[in-house]
Symmetry: C2
Subunit: 208 residues, 2 copies
């Protein structure tokens, strides 16, 4: 199926471009392109322009490094949010996930990844120094580490923890445990073990 | 998850545009957009432009109605192909599928769909008159009907057959039967029945 003889170079080019996207093969790409061909000219133009503009005009917030249309993102410039708590995450997508929970009203700091020597990512490639600087300069009372529970995530957590050791700030990490609605027998032993070690007072769960 | 508060209007717009594509939800759209954000500016621009150009500049072949970059498509203008056999298909995608088999060296005629009163598609909406005209004017010896085996496909087959009745041309339809590698017990009765009625000499299968 890979040696499709397309009747049009324009079609071929568009299919190739779509097929570069993650999780999209040539068959799906062709389906998407043929769908676009059936749409209004203006709609397809608006699609193409949205992609070009996105990459051309989008900025990274100079405070938290989240993506933004302006120099400072909407979260960092929102006066209604708590300045004293910074939640450290790997990527922009994690910001969106946490925002969707509506459980956090502080600020964020997007590292841009985790320390991973295998992939050639050292602390210098990440926004760690700027985090330390931010914690120092602002009156930050708590840094919440919300990284992946992988070896790389743990390494990064520990690296940041050491960097913040001499600054007077509480360093916490998000709770790991059995997901709500999850059944004990289907939970992996590591998570189950951690959820016993980090058990909390039952009365605390009643307050919320 | 639908009430994502995106930190950027540009991001939101791009996600919305991707989510309009068939089979792509907002979560996948976000994943694709974040992927594009990590690519080179020139690459993303080339993607956007490929989409815009495709819709703006693509043409339909004036002979077979396949998509084309020029007035006459590469198949219709290829002198190495047989003029006397026309394969009638519903869509551009069917042309690609048949081309990929490398078993057909004639010309095509893309109807643009099948007769479907339920969807408001009558014979007038399809390229049937132009097919009849083509068969009349050229020295066409055979018309192969290669439409879907649905009620709409069968109706369209019959309609075309009647239209061509007074012209001296052989009208054939592609063989229906058990797919190669298919097992009898898993084949539906209709197909199995048809494959018995339309049985062929065993020796004919040995020739190819």
């Amino acid at each position: 199926m890979l040696n499709d003889r397309y009747p049009s170079k324009l079609l071929e080019k568009a299919v190739e471009e779509f097929a570069k996207l993650p999780g999209i093969g040539r068959k799906t790409a062709l389906r998407l392109v043929l769908h676009l061909l059936r749409q209004d000219k203006t709609e397809v133009e608006s699609f193409g322009n949205a992609i070009i503009q996105l990459r051309k005009e989008i900025k990274h917030c100079k405070i938290c490094h989240n993506i933004s249309d302006t120099d400072t993102c909407t979260i960092c410039s929102n006066p209604a949010r708590t300045d004293s708590v910074i939640c450290v995450v790997e990527t922009i997508r994690d910001v969106l996930s946490i925002e969707n929970t509506h459980q956090f009203n502080g600020r964020y700091h997007v590292l841009g990844g985790v320390i991973s020597p295998m992939d050639g990512v050292g602390p210098g490639e990440l926004e760690i120094d700027s985090l330390v600087e931010r914690v120092k300069q602002n009156n930050t009372s708590e840094v919440i580490l919300a990284l992946s529970t992988t070896m790389e995530g743990d390494t990064t957590n520990f690296y940041i923890y050491k960097k913040l050791k001499n600054i007077e700030v509480k360093v916490t990490t998000i709770a790991r445990g059995i997901s709500i609605g999850g059944e004990l027998e289907y939970t992996d032993e590591l998570t189950l073990g951690r959820s016993i070690v980090n058990r909390i007072n039952y009365s605390d769960t009643l307050v919320h």
